[in-house]
């Protein structure tokens, strides 16, 4: 049984087909990379899964239940979390708060508990905090300690990316969507994050779909690669299969000039 299955997904903006006829599935525990040139529809694909964009046609099944038309928050509470290509943190909240707030859909206390400071409220607050710190500690010392109480805008670029992943982890997802997690990082940071993506699966049990341009990362972590071009999947398979596929080469590099 697939964790996520997408059938004939079509998304149209005005007259433009951002995605057309996409079939896709991912099994529990897999890491699948989605690659493709700019404008291929990769981010639209993520937006459709996370509920930010409603598909024109087709169906998206998460654990055999359709999630088309659900609010993004509902989708997240079902167990799908994402990061954004252009890092979108809550810049004026502290690092700890960024991660704490992401546990909203896993917790339940409202006005009453906060006003009366009930036992349940205090316990939940403590659990939220502990879990947040646990998630942050996954990234080593970078996001914990004195940094926890600093606003997110004070972080360096690479740390913002890390924090965004931490925030997605805190929603306790089963499926994690990473939108270009290593974009803009230097080679050392890239290598480190590649290793982290692997650990996300082994230690945290996440199933991961990743959009990535860095082919080395794609090669190192993914079980399977899906190539999109102009909203159409043109190839699927292991990295080696895909990277030698003539259609893929053409999509990236163009057709060789025919000799007459």
């Amino acid at each position: 049984m697939s964790l996520l299955e997408i059938k004939d997904l079509k998304i149209t903006f005005g007259g433009l087909d951002a995605l057309s006829g996409l079939n896709f599935h991912i099994d529990e525990g897999e890491i699948v990379s989605v690659i493709g040139p700019n404008g291929a529809g990769k981010t639209t694909f993520f937006n459709a899964i996370s509920g930010l964009v409603t598909p024109t046609e087709g169906d998206i099944l998460f654990e055999d239940e359709t999630i088309v038309g659900l609010d993004p928050s509902t989708v997240t509470s079902l167990g799908i979390a994402r990061t954004f290509q252009n890092v979108r943190l809550f810049p004026n909240m502290t690092i700890l708060e960024n991660v704490m707030v992401a546990q909203h859909c896993r917790t339940s206390q409202l006005v009453y508990g906060a006003l009366l400071q009930t036992k349940a409220f205090k316990r939940e607050e403590r659990e939220i905090r502990e879990r947040a710190i646990e998630v942050l500690e996954f990234f080593g010392h970078r996001l914990v300690g004195y940094r926890m109480d600093q606003p997110a805008f004070a972080l360096s670029y690479a740390n913002r990316r890390r924090l965004e992943i931490a925030r997605a982890m805190a929603t306790q997802p089963r499926l994690l969507l990473l939108d270009e997690p290593v974009a803009g990082m230097n080679p050392i940071e890239t290598a480190e994050l590649t290793a982290l993506v692997g650990r996300l699966r082994t230690e945290w049990g996440f199933t991961i779909i990743m959009i990535e341009h860095d082919m080395k990362v794609v090669r190192d972590v993914s079980d399977r690669v899906v190539v999109l071009d102009h909203g159409v999947p043109i190839a699927q398979g292991s990295y080696d299969e895909v990277s030698t596929n003539p259609d893929v080469v053409e999509a990236y590099l163009g057709r060789p000039v025919e000799a007459n």
Binding site: H104, L115, Y146
Partner: protein, 607 residues
């Protein structure tokens, strides 16, 4: 760090004349605007120092003094050494004052020559007489040019005199002026403490200080200022530098002192002051509610007065025997229960359709709803139920068994308001640091991402709306119990605006800020209908509000007492710079061994 010296002028006349001219015109413009607004003539009757200075003349002469000071202050860039100030700056102030006085004289000539009374209401012979001291034009013009020049010079000279002297002069001036301007309040307070003999001694019979008492009191203030010089600052600095437990302890003690003062002080205050405090409390309650909606959740609600009205009308209908349609004459305490219920219902009804809108659209739609509620209460349709324009009168006060809270006894109203304010403060404080509070903050930062992170934004925003609505409704209930009647005109759009100004000027998102905001605006300047400490400025209140708002937006957009978060937001650059200077190097990625060195730093940017 090496410091660079600012460019040194070669002589006192080597001025940046464009700048001087600009300030001169600003000075003149301010003087003319002030006169045409009518402030000096209207305030001329009120004496500040008997026979020598009226509030009208004071309002005029303050202008060149302040602008003289401002024009002569130098901009010092960080890392630059400030220039030693002297004759050069005195010339600046003098010229600015003279230009201002000159422009004012031109106004005098114009007043004499043309009659522009039609568009400009205050273009009157009265103003001419005021400006010329009833001594003819030549004298008037000369006098104003000289006075303004001297005052500009005096303002500028404050930069030149040593810091100590400057502080004492400023304290004496401010002390004397406040003592005189706040005469009504001071007498009221001293009456409560049985000190009438003192006020009789200081103030003249017709109001204002007598010349002798001005000198004596001024001397006393000077001595006190000289003795306490620097001490106040040392104490506040020490408080600021405290950490952890010690700071917590001190804060607790401060809090206890304030609490005791709040309970004990009103017993000694007279009617005027208690009335004033009760008004401040009413608006504090409203502002705290709006602070949750705007400051925490970031929903710009311009129709907040609607919930105020709902609270007021619910109480009036349920408690007054004069309610035209349904008059159960419940006790105030019981009616509160229904106030909460109706506030929640109306909050949901108004909130549900508008909450999906963002930013400006939300502001405009709520503005409309605020007016709709008021017009509904006034309409013929609901007239039979709520009394239309006649409103509902004869609302009884709050019978507490041992005491009766009524408008005629402002002290009891103050305690009632205090009770509700404490509730509101507690609610804001607890919610801020809760799951819901964090969700509100996230929505304020980036609604789409908040939603993608699993926050149901619609229900979270509705929750903010409803909590705000309940607090506003409490305020409405207290208002009605205090005034004893309710009319649609009590719920004008202006109230929404003023509450928003209170929140903005005080410091959005900060409870202490909102408290300071309501004291400054409602307590000192006065609410929409309630006089504040500066009763004389009643007619110019909105003008002062507007000026204050513009000034704050330009100079201190985070408010008087900002929340740490908001000032960080508005000063991100400075925050990053400070952190960089301390060695935190944000924005630059840390290599692995850099971070542990900084752990001890504690990230202590929050005050």
């Amino acid at each position: 760090m090496s410091t660079l010296a600012a460019p040194m002028p070669s002589s006192a006349l080597d001025q940046d004349w464009r700048k001087v001219l600009r300030w001169g015109f600003i000075c003149g413009g301010a003087l003319i605007a002030l006169c045409l607004v009518g402030m000096p003539v209207e305030l001329d009757r009120r004496e500040i120092i008997e026979r020598y200075l009226s509030l009208g003349y004071l309002s005029v002469v303050l202008v060149p003094l302040v602008i003289g000071w401002v024009s002569a202050s130098q901009v010092v860039l960080e890392g630059f050494e400030s220039r030693k100030q002297g004759l050069f700056d005195l010339v600046t102030g003098l010229v600015v004052g003279v230009i201002g006085g000159g422009l004012l004289s031109l106004l005098m000539v114009a007043l004499d020559t043309w009659n522009l009374r039609d568009p400009l209401v205050n273009w009157s012979p009265k103003l001419f007489r005021f400006l010329t001291y009833e001594n003819g034009m030549g004298f008037g013009a000369g006098a104003w040019i000289v006075t303004c020049g001297v005052l500009g010079l005096a303002g500028a000279s404050l930069h030149v005199v040593p810091r100590f002297a400057r502080r004492i002069v400023a304290t004496v001036i401010i002390g004397l002026l406040s003592l005189s301007v706040l005469e009504a309040a001071v007498s009221d307070v001293s009456e409560g403490f049985g000190l009438e003999w003192l006020t009789d001694l200081i103030y003249a019979k017709k109001g204002g200080l007598t010349l002798t008492s001005a000198f004596v009191v001024g001397a006393v203030i000077a001595v006190v200022a000289a003795l306490t010089d620097g001490r106040v600052k040392a104490v506040t600095n020490r408080y600021r530098d405290m950490e952890g437990i010690e700071r917590q302890k001190t804060s607790m003690i401060l809090f206890a002192v304030v609490a005791v003062l709040c309970i004990v002080l009103p017993m000694f205050l007279g009617k005027i002051m208690n009335e004033l405090l009760a008004n401040v409390g009413l608006f504090l309650l409203l502002a705290l509610g709006l602070n949750i909606v705007v400051g925490l959740a970031g929903l710009l609600d311009l129709g907040y007065v609607a919930f105020f009205a709902v609270g007021g009308y619910t109480t009036a209908v349920l408690t007054s025997p004069n309610s035209p349609w349904f008059a159960p004459e419940l006790h105030f305490g019981f009616s509160l229960f229904f106030v909460v219920i109706f506030a929640i219902i109306v909050g949901l009804v108004i909130g549900a359709p508008v909450i999906r809108m963002r930013g400006d659209y939300l502001a405009i739609v709520t503005l409309g709803f605020g007016e709709i509620i008021r017009l509904l209460f006034m309409s013929d349709w609901l007239g039979p139920y709520f009394g239309g324009a006649q409103g509902i009168t004869n609302v009884p006060g709050v019978d507490l068994g041992f005491a009766m809270v009524k408008g005629t006894d402002p002290r009891s109203v103050f305690y009632l308001v205090l009770f509700f304010s404490v509730i509101a403060i507690y609610v804001s404080w607890r919610l801020q640091a809760s799951r819901l509070g964090r969700a509100w903050m996230a929505i304020r930062e980036d609604e789409q991402v908040a939603e993608a992170m699993g926050i149901n934004t619609v229900s979270a925003k509705l929750m903010a709306f409803v909590v705000g609505a309940v607090l506003a409704a409490f305020s409405g209930a207290v208002l009605v119990a205090k005034v004893g009647s309710v009319f649609p005109t009590s719920f004008m759009i202006l109230i929404s605006i003023i509450i928003l100004v209170v929140v903005i000027v005080g410091g959005m998102g900060n409870i202490a800020g909102v408290m300071v905001g309501s004291f400054v605006l409602i307590g000192v300047l006065g609410g929409p209908k309630q006089p504040g400490l500066l009763q004389e400025f009643q007619n110019f209140k909105l003008l002062i509000y507007g000026m204050l708002l513009v000034f704050m937006m330009l100079k201190r957009p985070e408010g008087l007492v900002p929340s740490a978060r908001r000032s960080r937001e508005l000063h991100q650059e400075e925050f990053l710079q400070d952190a960089w200077l301390r060695g935190d190097k944000p924005g630059i990625d840390d290599d692995d061994d850099a971070a542990p060195l900084l752990v001890g730093d504690g990230g202590g940017e929050e005050e």
